[in-house]
């Protein structure tokens, strides 16, 4: 029997599907069966979907072959096939390429939830500084120099606090 898909090779993979009591049979050659892996994996999981997206997202762009993660050696290629990181630093190694993919799967690309207490202490100060710097820029643009001076002092205070904390560590 010839393969149902290509009609060229001998079919040696035989599949029977029963969906809602309706039986369908397909006979495929090894090559076409490989192409149709999803037939064997009807429980398409989120993870499978994610690694599939990784493979599709960058088809039209060419990247230079990147070096692997400096910490664990995981390459982007490897990550693309497994959909899993090797260590926490892989994120930094692939961030540029990852962010659009993460955004497409999660809908967002910025964490707004819990910040760990210990690791987050200095981070929170940093976030406040960034916010104030933004306000300062706006104040200068509006030529509100009095407000700008106030903000500058606040930023100075926070920078000092941040420096002290780092010193204590």
């Amino acid at each position: 029997m010839l393969c149902n898909e290509c009609g060229k090779n001998e079919a040696n993979v035989h599949l029977t599907h029963i969906i809602n009591g309706k039986k369908t049979e397909s006979h495929l050659c090894e090559e076409c069966a490989k192409k149709n892996q999803t037939i064997f994996n009807p429980n398409f999981s989120m993870e499978n979907l994610f690694s599939a997206m990784l493979n599709n997202s960058f088809n039209n762009k060419t990247y230079l072959p990147a070096k692997g993660c400096s910490n664990c050696g995981m390459t982007y290629e490897n990550f693309r096939t497994t959909g899993k990181f090797g260590c926490s630093q892989c994120i930094d190694s692939f961030k540029g390429r990852l962010k659009p993919v993460i955004k497409s799967i999660q809908g967002y690309d910025r964490h707004t939830g819990k910040i760990p207490k210990r690791t987050g202490g200095a981070y929170k100060v940093q976030m406040d500084i960034e916010r104030l710097k933004n306000e300062l820029r706006c104040a200068v643009e509006r030529e509100e120099y009095e407000l700008a001076a106030e903000l500058r002092d606040k930023i100075y205070e926070l920078e000092k606090k941040k420096g002290d904390e780092q010193f204590e560590k």
């Binding site: 429980n43 999981s45 989120m46 993870e47 994610f50 910490n71 664990c72 995981m74 959909g83 899993k84 990181f85 090797g86 260590c87 926490s88 994120i91 930094d92 990852l98 993919v101 993460i102 799967i105 999660q106 809908g107 967002y108 690309d109 910025r110 964490h111 707004t112 939830g113 819990k114 910040i115 760990p116 207490k117 210990r118 690791t119 987050g120 981070y123 940093q126 976030m127």
Partner: protein, 331 residues
């Protein structure tokens, strides 16, 4: 009908937090000695404040592991780990910390009824305790770093287990669940991703983990669950009005089989137990009232039965299952 509590429809709520240690590779790439030291770090961190019991996967038989899965204490993925996996269990059995599953740490809290907020509070406390002593992998933009990007950000999965027999027997469930999945919510079987629904039990959980706070994610699931509860209640009322005779017959037949059969497969038992649970909640089969049918559904899972007697063949297990059901229902 008016006595119907939300707890009849919502069986349990669960919060799971995924966390990783900064200075180790992720579990799949760790050596055995690294795995051991991760287990020790986490165990020591928790032991400073809480009295959790540590169990290594290597010390458990397959039957025991699968029984823990059936009781929702560990995940199938952890059970597949050999030397490198372990879990910590709180004295009240509500919170477990899986170590070296896909992520270094998976904190999980389960409570009865619709109680995601309470679960979050408990998981959050355990998370804080661990973080006091270990360095978490945390990124300013992307939040908690996880092995799989689908968990990144809050690392939180909030899920609610629902018993939806009326929507199922009236064939509305597929449409409803499809609708729900359009709202960024995942629907899974009882034992997690890729498992089928048995006994009309469904798990609803958040799909995305990034870009919203934990509280917002929980609120969203709560709102969706409340709507599903409403639909299930309305359908029950409709059935009561229009199909009472058929329902009564179905429930009594199910009860008759459950209390008389000498052999029962898990699929048949789950289907029938789901029916008498519904019958009891609708006030049609009063003899089942006050019995914890969901607990019984868990006890009769294959590996839970095998923990009672490890020598049982599948056929003997069906006999044992029928015996347990008769004993519990007629007690």
């Amino acid at each position: 009908m008016s006595s119907l509590k939300n707890n009849d429809i919502v069986i349990t709520s669960r919060i799971r937090l995924a966390r990783n240690l900064k200075n180790y590779k992720f579990p799949i790439y760790m050596t055995e000695s690294e795995s051991k030291s991760v287990i020790n770090e986490i165990y020591n961190a928790i032991s400073k404040h809480e009295n959790y019991k540590l169990t290594y996967m290597k010390d458990l038989s397959d039957v025991k592991k699968n029984s823990l899965i059936e009781n929702h204490i560990i995940s199938p993925a952890l059970a597949n780990k050999r030397n490198e996996g372990a879990f910590l269990l709180s004295p009240d059995g509500k919170t477990s910390v899986m170590i070296n599953e896909e992520d270094h740490i998976r904190i999980q809290t389960i409570e009865d009824g619709l109680s995601l907020k309470e679960c979050w509070k408990l998981s959050n406390e355990v998370d804080d305790i661990i973080e006091e002593s270990v360095d978490y992998a945390f990124d300013r933009e992307l939040g908690y770093i996880t092995a799989c990007p689908t968990n990144i950000g809050t690392g939180m999965r909030a899920s609610v287990m629902l018993h939806l027999p009326a929507l199922s027997i009236t064939n509305q469930i597929d449409k409803l669940l499809y609708g729900v999945s359009q709202l960024g919510v995942a629907v899974r079987g009882v034992y997690g991703e890729g498992t089928k629904s048995i006994g009309h039990l469904y798990q609803i959980s958040n799909q995305g983990t990034l870009g919203a706070s934990e509280e917002t994610l929980i609120d969203k699931i709560n709102q969706i669950v409340m709507q599903i509860i409403d639909k299930e209640k309305n359908t029950r009322e409709h059935l009561m009005k229009n199909n009472y005779d058929d329902l009564e017959d179905d429930f009594y037949r199910a009860y008759g089989l459950l209390t008389n059969a000498r052999k029962m497969t898990v699929d048949e038992a789950m289907k029938l137990l789901s029916l008498i649970k519904l019958g009891s909640e609708m006030g049609i089969t009063p003899m089942v009232k006050g019995k914890n049918i969901y607990q019984l559904m868990i006890w009769i899972q294959p590996n839970n039965i095998s923990t009672i007697d490890t020598e049982l063949s599948p056929k003997d297990r069906d006999k044992k299952r029928a015996e347990i059901i008769r004993r519990e229902l007629l007690r």
